[in-house]
């Protein structure tokens, strides 16, 4: 006779306890929490979970557990916060290997000691490496450096069946085998548990300048965007911000460099009417427009040239529903975030999303709700239309045939 699940988990030797009120995953309470200290322990827990048909959700710092859709099963919460070592920082090779539970801020502190950085913003304070990868969060620097998928060069995962597997490696240039890191990045824990990751690094720039200019509307924002992209400015980021529909909007260009920086900043300022050059980031630079812990956070993706169209679509949807979202994001790459405050009426949020998605669809744009309050979540479709769902389902079926990994949290019910 097989052991009861609790005993089987305990037998792994891993620290296991009953879940409490602080362990909810988007409102769903798991039965157990296991806190492994190593990849081996993680694999042992995952094998036990597989044998006992336990569904598993991984947690780092828990900053985004209420993102996405609640899992339709959640027996075991895998707490990776004890796996927080920077395993190897090869400064001369500009490469770092780090455990999944390491906070991004801890990693940054270690790298800063060598004058280096992972050129990936951390928009949610406290987030871990694993959680950042699983949700594929990014920020302003994506214009120059890409997102997590572009900086991740190796990954080790534990599969649903408890098998540990790696892809990539610890050299930047490497095309041996499939790149599973790309697949895991942004998969919300539905394909495997990331236990460690290797990133390429960049030197910390000696100086930064922020060139900020007011823009009167969508067309002006677009003109600013295009002027900077088309110039020889080599911007690290181009960010748009607008608080409230009628209020003023700004575009901020981040430049990084050395002694040449003042000269370049003046060049960019000359492109933008009313520009000022700041030595420090303007308030809220790179932050999400809504509190990622309470409100509704929407990610809009559209081709860069459709920025005015996307902003107009936001305005039209807002006007029709009486809502007034804050908007901020990386206009230089065509990714914006819209935030609705806590307490918004679910029907209004639903109508807002429907109008927005309807308008964006004609321009190949999408609007994904990253996070919403429970009553809003029930009304809006969190993911919206997703292309390639058939292939995605087949991948899920191969990696997790029992559908035990974060089931239901992803697009298409995956």
């Amino acid at each position: 006779m097989a052991l009861p699940p609790a005993d089987a988990l305990a037998k792994t030797g891993v620290d296991v306890r009953d879940a409490g009120a602080a362990d909810l995953v988007a409102g769903v309470r798991p039965a157990y929490v296991a806190a492994p200290v190593s990849a081996e322990e993680t694999a042992a827990v995952m094998r036990a979970a597989a044998e006992h048909d336990l569904s598993v959700v991984a947690r780092g710092a828990g900053t985004k557990l209420d993102w996405g859709i609640p899992p339709y099963r959640c027996d075991l919460l895998l707490d990776l916060s004890r796996m927080r070592d920077v395993v190897e920082h090869a400064a001369g090779d500009l490469v770092v290997r780090v455990e999944a539970g390491c906070p991004m801020s801890d990693l940054a502190a270690v790298l800063a000691g060598a004058g280096q950085r992972l050129a990936l913003d951390s928009p949610v304070p406290g987030a871990t490496v694993g959680g950042t990868l699983a949700t594929a969060t990014s920020g302003p620097l994506r214009l120059a450096y890409g997102t997590a998928r572009d900086l991740l060069i190796g990954v080790t995962m534990v599969r649903a069946d408890g098998v540990t597997a790696s892809s990539g490696g610890r050299v930047v240039k490497n095309v041996a085998g499939y790149d599973l890191g790309k697949l895991l990045t942004g998969s919300y824990g539905t394909l495997g548990v990331i236990v460690s990751a290797t990133f390429r690094l960049h030197p910390e720039p000696p100086r930064r300048a922020y060139v900020r200019a007011p823009v009167s509307g969508g067309d002006a924002a677009h003109a600013a965007n295009q002027a900077v992209l088309g110039a020889q400015a080599v911007p690290a980021a181009i960010e748009y911000e607008r608080r409230s529909r009628g209020g003023g909007a700004t575009v901020t260009v981040l430049l990084e460099g050395g002694a040449d920086l003042p000269h370049r900043a003046e060049g960019v300022a000359a492109l933008l009417d009313g520009a000022e050059i700041l030595g420090t980031p303007p308030d809220g630079f790179g932050a999400y427009p809504a509190d990622p812990g309470t409100g509704t956070l929407i990610k809009l993706i559209a081709p860069v040239a459709d920025l005015p169209y996307a902003l107009a679509a936001l305005d039209a949807a807002a006007e029709a529903t009486g809502l007034d979202p804050d908007v901020r994001g990386s206009s230089g790459v065509g990714v914006l975030y819209a935030g609705l405050p806590a307490g918004v009426r679910p029907d209004d949020a639903g109508a807002f999303l429907a109008a927005l998605r309807g308008a964006l669809a004609s321009r190949d744009g999408t609007a994904v709700v990253l996070r919403a309050e429970p009553d809003v979540r029930e009304v809006v479709g969190m993911w919206g239309p997703v292309a390639g769902l058939g292939l995605m389902r087949r991948i899920k079926d191969r990696f997790d045939p029992g559908h035990r990994l974060a089931p239901g949290r992803f697009a298409g019910g995956i």
Binding site: S55, I69, G92, V95, T147, D150, R159, V163, A165, S167, R170, V171, K173, N174, V175, A176, G177, Y178, D179, L180, K182, L183, T185, G186, L191, P203, P205, L229, G230, V234, A259, D260, R264, I301, A302, V304, A305, D364, G381, W383, G384, V386, A387, G388, L389, G390, L391, M392, R394, I395, D397, R398, F399, P401, G402, H403, P407, A411, G412, G413
Partner: protein
């Protein structure tokens, strides 16, 4: 199942009336790609013009259980486009249109047969270019670049094909036309595009590619530095990287590679150099000026006895000429050679170069080194005379030992040429059985019949079987078919 090539060719002619090759002599010309020592004459060659035709061809292959391989320009160096004698070769040479240059979105939309350089040429009038630049860029196809995740000398700063492709229209191994990504920076859901790029033609065939265009830099500065030894040149590389400079490219050639290049193209590299370094910086003019002075200073401090700075594009071309001709040039000093593509962490370069030197001395097989020093991507050229009994085998041994060195130092067996047929047998030296099994889960999800470029990348195919498992606890909305609502 035995291939009835006559019947299949008849069906292909219904799809592409003027694009089916069955003549043996003509098929023979497709027997290999750039890696010529693997050859296999395909049973049928088809040259479609549209995605719909590719889809129909794939469907016909699937219906008959016939393997198929896609081929672009056939410049690959790992045998990724090696045909199957019992299969179909689908050649994209007739799909080479530049469909659109979209300046505002910084994108180009092209057909897979378009050459890498043709994208840059089409974008140049607008002040843009396509950043990945494999040495074969004049002839290699974008579709092949996508399959191999091609790099190039400038990927040190700008990244690889996967960082520059934002969309692909593909024909899946089921013969369905599917769009992955597009002109947007990303798309919701799994990163199917990221998984597809670099899958070496095993997950489907690209029929349309959307690439990111990069603003042509305001300034480009290139220097050529001569050093007494590769150690000195290596020290310069380390000093430059440690100074926080990210050059567009840092290339190194050793004495034997220089000798070959001189013999072939008379590039006039510094006399008596044991190693030369090519360092290129690009970007905003003010930044390039500042950093270039630093690079020059650091090179001298590391022992550069001669430094030449390109004054214009013509001089820059001359500096690059020796480097870009190096592979072909060794033909001047050796009847035959093997090109390796291993990678080591950059800091391990000096030691690995010494060990390669030892291997060469011990075996009596000469090795010329020409490589991307900035990212540790070695291209040792193992020279041998195939007319001399046993030399080919010894060269193979040296080549294998070099790969061992790379793996020993935490590197990779391939930095940009791909695994293909050539290095599939080496994959277990770099990855565990579990790693390879997991990668093949992806393969099975896309191509359970393994008809799409079979025998490449993996040493032993995984039997995919049916979609596994009885699924329990499916979400009620999934069951009721409302999944699009998520």
């Amino acid at each position: 199942m035995a291939l009835d090539s006559q019947d299949l060719a008849r069906r292909f002619r219904e799809i592409v009336p003027d694009g089916v090759v069955t003549d043996p002599a003509e098929r023979e010309t497709y027997a290999c790609d750039g890696l010529t020592y693997h050859a296999a004459v395909p049973a049928i060659v088809v040259l479609p013009r549209t995605a719909e035709q590719v889809a129909a061809i794939v469907k016909a292959c699937v219906a008959e259980d016939v393997p198929y391989v896609a081929r672009g320009s056939g410049t690959g160096l790992s045998g990724g486009a090696l045909p199957r004698t019992d299969g179909v070769l689908i050649v994209t040479a007739r799909m080479r249109r530049i469909i659109e240059i979209d300046v505002e979105n910084q994108r180009a939309v092209v057909e897979p047969g378009a050459t890498n350089l043709s994208v840059t040429k089409a974008a140049a009038p607008y002040g843009y270019y396509y950043a990945p630049d494999p040495s074969s860029q004049q002839v290699c196809s974008i579709g092949g670049n996508v399959a191999e995740n091609s790099g190039g000398a400038h990927c040190l700063k700008y990244g690889f094909t996967v960082n520059h492709v934002t969309g692909c229209e593909i024909v899946t191994p089921d013969g369905e036309i599917v769009r992955l990504g597009g002109k947007t920076a990303e798309s919701p859901g799994y990163d199917l595009l990221g998984a597809f790029v670099g899958s070496e033609g095993t997950l489907g065939i690209t029929t349309k590619v959307t690439v990111r265009l990069t603003r042509a830099p305001e300034a480009v500065k290139t220097l050529l530095a001569g050093f007494a030894t590769t150690d000195d040149a290596g020290a310069a590389v380390s000093a430059i990287i440690s100074a926080g400079i990210v050059p567009a490219a840092i290339e190194m050639m050793d004495a034997l590679a220089i000798e070959a290049a001189e013999a072939a193209v008379a590039c006039g590299y510094p006399e008596g150099a044991g190693a030369v370094l090519i360092v290129e910086l690009d970007g905003a003019a003010a930044a390039v000026e500042h950093e270039f002075a630093e690079v020059e200073r650091l090179s001298r401090a590391s022992g550069a006895f001669e430094i030449r700075i390109a004054a214009d594009d013509a001089q820059r071309g001359l500096i690059w000429k020796g480097r870009k001709s190096a592979f072909a040039a060794v033909g001047r000093i050796s009847p035959a050679y093997i090109v390796q593509d291993g990678v080591v962490p950059r800091t391990a370069l000096p030691e690995v170069l010494h060990r390669i030197g030892e291997l060469a001395r011990e075996s009596g097989i000469r090795v010329a080194n020409v490589f991307h020093a900035g990212d540790g991507n070695l291209h040792p050229l193992v020279l041998f005379d195939d007319a001399v009994e046993g030399q080919g085998a010894r060269a193979e041994e040296v080549s294998g030992a070099i790969l061992d060195l790379c793996i020993e130092h935490g590197g990779s067996i391939t930095g940009e040429h791909g695994v293909g047929i050539d290095k599939a047998k080496h994959m277990p030296r770099m990855f565990t059985e579990e790693d390879l099994d997991t990668m093949q889960l992806l393969r099975c999800a896309w191509d359970a019949r393994t008809l799409c470029n079979p025998g490449k990348v993996f040493p032993t195919p995984r039997l995919c079987g049916e979609v596994p498992g009885v699924r329990r606890g499916a979400h009620p909305l999934v069951e009721s078919g409302q999944v699009e609502q998520f």
